[in-house]
């Protein structure tokens, strides 16, 4: 390339041979007068070709720079002399004053003065733009050749800058430092303030002024963020809006309720979005949204939620719409909705704790009676019943609470995932609270109650619903092992005492738990059902076996038997729970007739399954006895022998049979009965209470007659017993599933801890077998992890189990390891 632009810096000396100077002045004179015509809107007679040609000639003759300067000066003079005055004239003292402080003018006066000012400014700006685009057309060749070659801004841009400097930055009064631009800002801001207060303003007029600010730049750099709109107006707008909303939020918090506040805040955000669209610039939308969100929501969300009419009130009164507004607002400023989550969680735990407390109060109110001086069992049973009712109420209350929050979550919280997690955590928190250790038992009791009574007459769907409720609560329970223990105990009684309404529903429940908690959990429960089935077959088989022996004894005693696998059934919780080991060791002495049958079945069973030992649990059985009472005078005077069928416990039967051999007028003492039957004392006491104290089933006469049973009491057959029905059920005390007493629960927990120990050891060994070596921390963490579906063991317990495994040489400590670590010993 030859002679690029860079090489032109040094020019050869010019020769003024052609009278160029004179030509220039003449030509410029023609152009300038045409420009004046254009500015006075009188361009229709001007010839474009002529003006273009003149400008072209000047540039061709290397006078581009002069022309450029002349045009600029021309515009500067025009703006300064012709335009500035008219703009300044629009600035009333009121406008000048209110831009600093509130003057003596009324709002309306200021408003009209402001509009007049904006109209004038807008007109001047639009005229300037129109004229300058005509000038730019005329000066096209100069722009293309001179400005491009010399890197000058186009004449149009240069003239826009002039408008900025000569008009917007001109100072209308001597005693203030406000220029036209800042007065314009103030006027616009005041109009916006009016609109926020509910007035109607001329949005188009403001928008036109905003266009002007968007078209001008603060400096030479024509960048987005250098637009006057951004550097001058927007900043003021955001700052004054922040101030406005800060004050407004304070007022609103003081004077309205939370629901109204939410609605207002939402409306404000929409208003500001709309204002950016219609009056200001869309580039401001996000910024002003942030200001409103900061001032109305972010900085106030805590106060808002904590208001008297806040989230707590909304929850308590099921104000779903208000809650959804709070949710929407919180979500705007915080992805995590931390404040709302915190308030909701707090309320869940509060309400849950109330439910817990109510249950505790109900159970404590019942206790003083059972601890009274009279240790009779009947009132205790009554109290326990009340407790069972409390347990069921607890379950219902918790479910109701869950329904309530589920609805809120669905309707108001848009089914928000993190909030659901938070709700679940809070429910788990109060259900597993250390101050309330009864959840597992209560849930199991709830199922028990429904299996025995609740589902009677219900449709399949309704039953499904009940089962689902139980499962819902079960999901929250942390210590699944404790639940399993209670469930087994309750199920055991239902099965053995035939209390279940429907075997199908029982099995449905098991399969639901299987889905929810896994195979391991339900294995033993299923085994219990299997035992029951096998036992039915056994009973039938034995009956056939006896029939085949061909000894049709009319007084034959029929035997129905349940053979229970001892590991599967929670037998220790059956019968006399208080007597522990002692009770189990004693073997009841059966009357000879019964003993014969027992032997017969043992032989029958032994032939089928050799090597199995049968232990007879007399405490759990029952017997139907056909009893004959001597003739007594009836109402009509006739004598009649009375036959009753007595349904009694096995122990009851054993006791009653003693009296078969006893002459009518003789008695046996308590001690004698105990010695001849070997029935554990507490069971004996309970059975004698049923037979000799309870008024409707007083088959024996106790002497002296009192509620308490003493070793010296004497018992004789009540020949004069009167029963209303043929069949009489002698109620056996403590045959139902009740809430445990504190002592019982401690016992249950102790046992549970015992079996937890095994679970923990098994988990540790499983982990170590796989990993071989592991640090203490990791081992504890993995153990906790593995056991999470069953229960949450205490770390201390894990430590003890590790110690024990080291003692028994399953593990060893790694010597000199930087952190405590263990090695698996195969």
């Amino acid at each position: 390339m030859l002679a690029g632009r860079g090489g032109r810096k040094i020019r050869p000396p010019r020769r003024g041979l052609h009278g160029d100077e004179i030509d220039f002045e003449n030509t410029w004179g023609i152009i300038a007068s045409a420009f004046r015509e254009i500015h006075t809107k009188n361009a229709s007679k001007l010839s474009y070709e002529e003006l273009y040609r003149h400008a072209y000639r000047i540039v061709l003759k290397k006078k581009g720079e002069d022309l450029y300067r002349r045009v600029r000066n021309f515009e500067h003079d025009w703006l300064s002399n012709e335009v500035r005055g008219t703009i300044h004239a629009l600035l009333t003292p009121g406008l000048l004053a209110n831009s600093q402080s509130i003057g003596g003018t009324t709002a309306n006066e200021r408003r009209f003065a402001g509009e007049r000012f904006m109209k004038g400014l807008k007109q001047a700006w639009q005229d300037h733009q129109v004229c300058m685009s005509m000038l730019a057309d005329v000066l096209m060749y100069m722009d293309r050749v001179y400005c491009a070659d010399h890197r000058r801004p186009s004449i149009y841009s240069a003239a826009m800058v002039l408008f900025r400097d000569d008009i917007l930055r001109s100072d209308p009064s001597d005693h203030s430092d406000m220029d036209v631009l800042s007065i314009l800002n103030h006027v616009i801001l005041e109009q916006i303030r009016m609109e926020r207060d509910g007035d109607v303003i001329d949005k188009h007029l403001i928008k036109d002024c905003i266009y002007m600010l968007e078209g001008l730049y603060d400096s030479e750099i024509e960048a987005e963020e250098q637009r006057l709109y951004v550097t001058s107006f927007e900043e003021d707008f955001l700052a004054s809006s922040r101030e406005f909303y800060m004050a407004e939020s304070e007022l609103m918090l003081r004077e309205s309720d939370a629901g109204a506040y939410c609605r207002h805040a939402r409306r404000r955000i929409f208003e500001e979005q709309d204002r950016c669209r219609s009056t200001l610039s869309e580039t401001t939308t996000l910024k002003i949204e942030k200001v409103v969100e900061d001032e109305l929501i972010k900085n106030r969300i805590h106060e808002l939620i904590e208001m008297e009419s806040g989230v707590r009130y909304m929850i308590d009164n099921d104000l779903l719409e208000e809650l959804s507004l709070i949710y929407e607002l919180n979500a705007r400023v915080d992805n995590k909705k931390a404040e709302l989550t915190r308030a909701i969680q707090k309320r869940v735990v509060e309400m849950g704790t109330d439910v817990n407390s109510a249950a505790i109060v109900a159970s404590q109110a019942a206790q003083p009676l059972s601890e009274g001086p009279d240790k009779g069992k009947a009132p205790v049973e009554k109290n326990l019943n009340q407790q069972t009712i409390a347990a069921i109420k607890w379950v219902e209350d918790v479910l109701q609470l869950k329904d309530k929050f589920d609805k809120i979550w669905k309707v108001s919280f848009d089914s928000d995932q993190p909030l659901q997690t938070a709700l679940t955590r809070s429910f788990a928190d109060f259900i597993n609270a250390s101050s309330f250790p009864r959840s597992s038992e209560y849930i199991s009791l709830f199922i028990d109650e429904n299996m025995k009574k609740g589902i009677k007459g219900k449709t399949e769907n309704e039953i499904d619903l009940v089962l689902e409720k139980a499962i819902i609560l079960l999901r929250y329970v942390q210590d699944k092992d404790l639940f399993e223990r209670y469930y087994k105990k309750h199920l055991c009684r239902r099965l053995l005492m035939n209390k279940s309404i429907s075997n199908d529903v029982e099995k449905q429940m098991i399969s639901r738990m299987k889905i929810e908690l896994g195979n391991n959990f339900t294995m033993k429960l299923e085994a219990m059902f299997k035992d029951m089935t096998i036992s039915e077959e056994l009973t039938a088989g034995y009956k056939t076996h006896i029939a085949q022996l061909g000894d049709p004894d009319p007084k034959r005693i029929e035997l129905a038997i349940n053979v229970l696998t001892s590991m599967t059934w929670p037998l220790e919780t059956m019968g006399s729970s208080g007597d522990n080991e002692e009770g189990k060791m004693l073997k009841c002495v059966f009357p000879s007739a019964i003993e014969r049958i027992k032997k017969g079945f043992e032989k029958f069973y032994g032939e089928k399954h050799s090597g199995r030992t049968l232990t007879w649990l007399a405490a759990m059985g029952s017997a139907d006895i056909k009893a004959v009472f001597p003739k007594v005078p009836q109402k009509d005077g006739t004598l009649k022998e009375r036959r009753h069928e007595l349904n009694v416990s096995t122990y009851g039967m054993v006791i009653l049979l003693l009296f078969n051999d006893l002459p009518a007028d003789e008695f046996i003492t308590f001690e004698e009965i105990q010695a001849r039957t070997n029935i554990p004392e507490s069971d004996l006491v309970r059975n004698l209470q049923s037979l000799a104290v309870a008024s409707k089933t007083r088959i024996l006469i106790k002497d002296p007659m009192s509620k308490d049973i003493k070793p010296s009491d004497r018992f004789s057959f009540n020949e004069g017993f009167q029963g209303k029905f043929h069949r009489i059920k002698v109620g056996v005390v403590t045959s139902g599933n009740k809430v445990e007493s504190d002592r019982e629960r401690k016992e249950t927990e102790r046992k549970n801890d015992g079996s937890r120990g095994f679970c923990i050891e098994a988990a540790i060994v499983r982990i170590m077998k796989q990993r071989k070596e592991l640090s203490h921390q990791q081992l504890v963490a993995e153990t906790l992890n593995q056991l999470a579906p069953q229960f949450k063991p205490e770390v201390n317990m894990i430590k003890k189990r590790i110690e024990s495994l080291i003692e028994r040489e399953y593990l060893e400590r790694i010597e000199n390891a930087p952190i405590d670590s263990y090695r698996y010993l195969a």
């Binding site: 030859l2 032109r8 474009y48 290397k62 005329v138």
Partner: protein, 243 residues
């Protein structure tokens, strides 16, 4: 019958519009000539005409008077607007093998076409073995079209004229038209416009003997820029560095 190409269809209809003046919505006056033209054809290609049609008197009357331009040049410019060419066509400029001895004593007649048609008659007929081309060279025509394209900002016309000027320079470098054409080049566009200036400098640099012509000497003396660019090229060709 030969099928016509779509492109041919457009080009011939455009030419027809120019010749007939039908649908004309703009008149361009220049000297004795009146051109009935179409805003849709002209305005999108030249910001001058575009602006003129929106401005003052021209907008009102629909007439643009080009009072300062050469009527023939304007006629060719308008021909270009409608045909993308103007006569003489590129294909008519015959490239000659350069001949040895320049002979400055030849006629200086400049060919001015007077009609849109008969171009075969006007085909330059260079003498194969002659030492010096005769007949019209059209150097100045191309330089003028180049200048008017610059004035009214018609990019395509500028490119086309530059190409024609270069082709001519390769054939007619020894033509008597050259000095006056160079004068046109150096006075009709701003100094910074190097489109034709570079062609002129290269032409002289390759044939320095041209400087012996008195007309050439006069040019060198008048246009310091030309002289300097020539020296600069020489310096670079001699291996000098010019950053």
């Amino acid at each position: 019958m030969e099928l016509s190409e779509p492109r041919t269809e457009l080009m011939s209809s455009l030419k027809e519009l120019l010749v007939s003046g039908s649908f004309s919505d703009l008149t361009i006056l220049c000297g004795p000539n009146e051109h009935k033209v179409h805003k849709a054809v002209i305005c999108p290609r030249s910001e001058f005409f575009n602006a003129a049609c929106r401005f003052g008197k021209e907008a009102e009357t629909g007439i643009i008077t080009l009072s300062d331009d050469d009527p023939e040049t304007v006629r060719l410019m308008i021909e270009y607007f409608y045909t993308l060419e103007y006569s003489p066509l590129c294909s008519d400029i015959v490239v000659q093998t350069p001949v040895n001895v320049p002979n400055p004593a030849d006629s200086d007649s400049e060919f001015i076409p007077d009609d849109w048609g008969r171009r075969k008659d006007r085909r330059p007929k260079p003498h194969p073995k002659s030492t010096k081309p005769t007949g019209p060279s059209h150097f100045t025509t191309f330089a003028k079209l180049y200048a008017i394209a610059d004035k009214y900002n018609i990019k395509g016309l500028q490119t086309l004229s530059q190409r024609k000027f270069k082709l001519t320079a390769e054939s007619y470098w020894n033509h008597d038209d050259l000095p006056s054409a160079i004068h046109t080049v150096y006075t009709s566009t701003p100094d910074t416009n190097m489109g034709l200036r570079n062609i002129v400098v290269n032409l002289i640099a390759d044939r320095m003997s041209l400087l012996r012509k008195p007309e050439m000497e006069a040019l060198m003396r008048e246009f310091n820029g030309l002289a300097f660019d020539l020296l600069k090229l020489k310096y670079i060709n001699d291996g000098g560095l010019w950053s």
